[in-house]
Amino acid sequence: MYAPEQTILSRTMPAQSMTEQMDELVRQHAGFVYRIAYACLRHRQEAEDAVQETFIRVWKHVRTLPEIGNQRAWLARIAWRVARDWQRGHSRAAMDGDCELAEIESEKTSVEEDIAQAQQAALLERMMALLPPDLRETLQLATVKEMTSPEIAEVLGIPEASVRGRLLRARRLLREKVQILMNGKREHGVRV
């Protein structure tokens, strides 16, 4: 949203104020940006590097920051693009499905549960890798807790209805795969 008063403010903003504003932005949204990058890259260190790169890009446009209406969506879009570029540039086998045990949230006390969760995540990653790119990207963004459908639509540059439709299709495809997997394991006597 355009706000003339804010524009004047931003142009006359001293450097100290700009730095403080940037620090505040980092403190507020670093976790959110990290989760977006992690949803795309599935690697802690690379996600952190992507966050750094995102805020460097934001720093270049810090003067126009007060002019931006939805800063969260704007940040999410930059983070998503940075992560996608990172993934293309660094051809790490991110989608190989080998989920690191260290990346699992260790809220559970049981080691067995941690291992089961890691296996579940690895399985889901493999299944998501088989999805069409547009469905996969939409689903990846939807897994970030803070992201709403309008924000996903803004990040991807598509209508909100399309986002909902893509999510439904993606979930249906994944469910079918899970069912096939469950049936196959039952036939072999393995408990899922």
Partner: protein, 227 residues
């Protein structure tokens, strides 16, 4: 198990997996690391700007000073030999007095490249026959001019020196024809009369020496006609 149950189980599994999939927390201190990285980058950028400004200033300084140096060098080579330009002349006469006169420097000789040598040779130049350095070299006089040259030499040399030389030679007995008695101390600057008297003495007493010296007669008695 019915189909609905299968679908329900798959749905639950999928919900759970997606929930864990998106649950990722950054390592502790991510914000501080990012802020520190941004500040470091800003400092680096500032330093780079300073370096760039310094480099530009150095280039501008060099561009300002280089023509002056070039002009000075050119002036030393050829411009100074020419007349001083009117704009370079001091406007005030007092300044003209204060300013030392510019020394005229001869223009540099052309470099002796292979092409230059070839051109000179084509023009008929030979390093043995011509050349600035060889102009100053004294050549041997022809033999028939030797008595004349000797006479000129004797005429130009002070008498006392001649007497000393003759005495020495007489003592050593190297040149018997030039034998003459050693001059007295009073004969510091003999006149023409004394000179003629001396020559007559030499003519009168040639027997002091071993041989005759017809040439010495000629030499020691320079003809007054020539003078």
């Amino acid at each position: 198990m019915s189909t609905d149950e299968h679908e329900g189980a798959a749905e639950r599994w999928l919900d759970e997996a997606l929930e864990h999939y998106g649950a990722a927390a950054p390592l502790f201190g991510l914000e501080a690391r990012i802020v520190a990285g941004l500040h470091a980058r800003a400092h680096r950028r500032q330093r780079r700007w300073l370096l760039a400004v310094a480099a530009v200033a150095a280039v501008v300084l060099a561009l300002t000073l280089a023509p002056q140096r070039w002009r000075l060098r050119k002036g030393a080579g050829g411009v100074a030999a020419r007349a001083v330009a009117p704009e370079m002349r001091p406007a005030c006469p007092a300044m003209a007095v204060l300013q030392p006169p510019r020394q005229e420097i001869a223009p540099r000789a052309p470099r002796r490249t292979a092409a230059w040598c070839a051109q000179r040779k084509a023009d008929g130049w030979s390093s043995r026959t011509t050349g600035a350095r060889q102009d100053g070299v004294r050549r041997e006089a022809p033999a028939f001019r030797e008595p004349e040259l000797l006479r000129i030499y004797l005429r130009q040399t002070p008498r006392s020196e001649l007497a000393v030389m003759a005495a020495r030679q007489q003592t050593a007995g190297e040149i018997p024809g030039l034998g003459s008695p050693p001059p007295k101390s009073e004969e510091a600057a003999p006149s023409n009369k004394e000179e003629s008297a001396l020559s007559s003495k030499e003519e009168a007493a040639p027997s002091n020496t071993q041989g005759t010296a017809p040439s010495s007669k000629e030499e020691t008695a320079p003809s007054n006609n020539e003078e």
